[in-house]
Symmetry: C2
Subunit: 328 residues, 2 copies
DNA sequence: ATAGGAAACGTAAACGATTTCTTTTTTTGC
DNA sequence: GCAAAAAAAGAAATCGTTTACGTTTCCTAT
């Protein structure tokens, strides 16, 4: 590997001069500066990140925290967008696993690697390790969860449900059931949005219409729907926790002779690709992962570059209702 | 952050002694060594990765090269397994994006970050940047493609097709069509396996039975299937490029009144979760991502630790045929 | 022509670890 | 009990950068 010293020797100047020249710290490109830069390029110079990090304690490297498996399309596409943003801003992305770090001490891991910041994509938000990280001096942005006084970017779980309810209401539905996903901030918000919209529209919601389930569990979702359909006062429309379960349910129901949306209307959540590739196309709500990633980076970069003046923000990114063919 | 120096002061020894104690370079745990280690733990010491990397030119960090989007379940689950393995072996994983690196010079990026090795999960295998990396002195393992003289781990694309063909043959099918995915090593291998099995079983394959398509394109897959079904000598079974297209096609066909497997048998590829969650369950072939990840790490760790004696290997990992309900 | 000031460059000290070499301490054999 | 060998600890160099601090060079104004 070619070092500053090598360039310095070739150019006949000192190492410091080369460093300044390459970092543009010299007053405008005098002839010599240009020569140095050209030589560096010719020699194929790239700064040694470790050395630079050691000296400046800046690594141009961000941590990504993701405890679950990557098997959800929402997360994997969010992740792709984060990767794109990182690239655009000149940062690398390193996974913050547990590794040696048995006590879920993400904070130490981040420190050890001199990470400039951490993006929490998905985690157990009640765990001590996460809270420690979020409240540490390391710039941290949390996605899809809100801590007071921390930078957070969430999708509009509350208002999206509001939109969905109003949408199906507009199409004539008055008996709307809601299958929730895992307990947590996301489900809480969605439930709140659901109740609020129903209340505002004067829709009565029997307790049995709201079920607590899990994300990404088509079998469970199907079971719930069948139960709901067996009720005397059965719902005409069911809001599913996500597209994955909804699609699975849709499929299973059809194979059992239930017609969607003739017999029952279904709404998904996420807007995964497959939901738009089959008939009937799912009516669903598509989160704006592009925008979420953008907001994450404006926050984290401000936190990194202006550690003094930066004030944590909670940002909500709204998605878009995608009208399909599963709501009558 | 607490440094070796701090520990040294507290313990009243030199920095060198602390370093040796922590790295176990002293002859067995004398009292002093134990004391130093305990103090280090109490003080919450973690070695500064940048400093250590600078001195040892080992980073305990591997690059992951993935050019496409993460939106395929095969890749995202492969990726999860790699992450698990990395954790288990004490490595971090950093994404090798393009960033500043306009001419796709992954090699420089890896060098700059002092990566100990690079895992190529998916890339344009003909691009100069990849070849440069693969033939460089940086330990590199390629997944799902084979370069001579490089470490490669591929799933058994050839023998899997062989198994699939024999399976449907055993169930009575003699007119078997095959929709290929994108051109490339994977498709080439699969096609070879397909032809070989057909030849061995004495099955005639009309040229129109083999179509060149794309991965993950349900619409295209459906179109091909419909064309095939319009033929006079129409196939009784179609092998699709992947589960995603196969599922989409299955769905679309059913909605158009075509029954699977009554009217036509379908076989997927990948074994994505959803393929096993609906009726009919897809007959498909499931790649062993766990094993692939394991093999990748045995290769790359040997390459890192024994740079002199390491000899590149090409390893094939076999998956498993999953018998579903889409083949009559 | 020269003093004064600005600009450019060089010197050297960091950053936090590892490691070689040297010195000190401990052990061991007689 | 002492010399020699072995073991442990310390001192200092080093990895490749950045950067504070001096020094030199070069301009400009008097």
């Amino acid at each position: 590997m070619v070092r500053l010293k090598d360039i310095a020797e070739v150019c006949g100047v000192s190492v410091a001069t080369v460093s300044r020249a390459l970092n543009g710290l010299t007053n405008e490109n005098r002839e010599r500066t240009a020569f140095i830069c050209q030589t560096a390029r010719d020699m194929g110079y790239y700064p040694n990140a470790a050395a630079r990090t050691l000296k400046t304690s800046r690594s141009n490297n961000l941590g990504i925290l993701y405890e679950d498996r990557m098997n959800h399309e929402y997360f994997s596409s969010l992740f792709d967008e984060l990767r794109r943003e990182a690239d655009a801003h000149g940062y690398d992305l390193t996974f913050l696993g547990q590794g040696d770090f048995s006590e879920s001490n993400y904070y130490e891991h981040a420190r050890q690697r001199n990470l400039d910041g951490v993006i929490v994509v998905q985690a157990d938000y009640d765990a001590a390790g996460i809270i420690r990280l979020a409240t540490s001096s390391i710039p941290t942005v949390i996605i899809d969860h809100t801590y007071d006084g921390c930078d957070c970017v969430t999708s509009d779980n509350r208002s999206s449900m509001d939109q969905i309810v109003r949408h199906v209401y507009a199409r004539g539905h008055r008996r709307i059931a809601f299958i929730q996903g895992e307990k947590g901030a996301v489900s809480r918000e969605r439930l709140a949005g659901f109740y609020k919209a129903c209340a505002e529209l004067g829709i009565r919601v029997p307790v049995e219409y709201v079920r607590e389930g899990h994300f990404h569990d088509p079998a469970e979702c199907t079971a719930f729907i069948r139960e709901l359909m067996r009720m005397d006062d059965k719902p005409s429309c069911v809001l599913c926790p996500d597209d994955y379960s909804c699609l699975g349910a849709l499929w299973l129901l059809e194979s059992q002779g239930v017609r969607v949306p003739a017999d029952i209307s279904l709404v998904g959540y996420d807007g995964i690709r497959m939901s738009q590739m089959m008939t009937p196309r799912l009516t669903t709500y598509c989160q704006d992962t592009v925008q979420i990633a953008k907001e994450v980076f404006t926050l984290i970069i401000d936190a990194i570059e202006n550690p003094e003046t930066h004030i944590p923000k909670q940002i909500t990114v709204s998605g878009m209702l995608m009208e399909g063919e599963t709501v009558r």
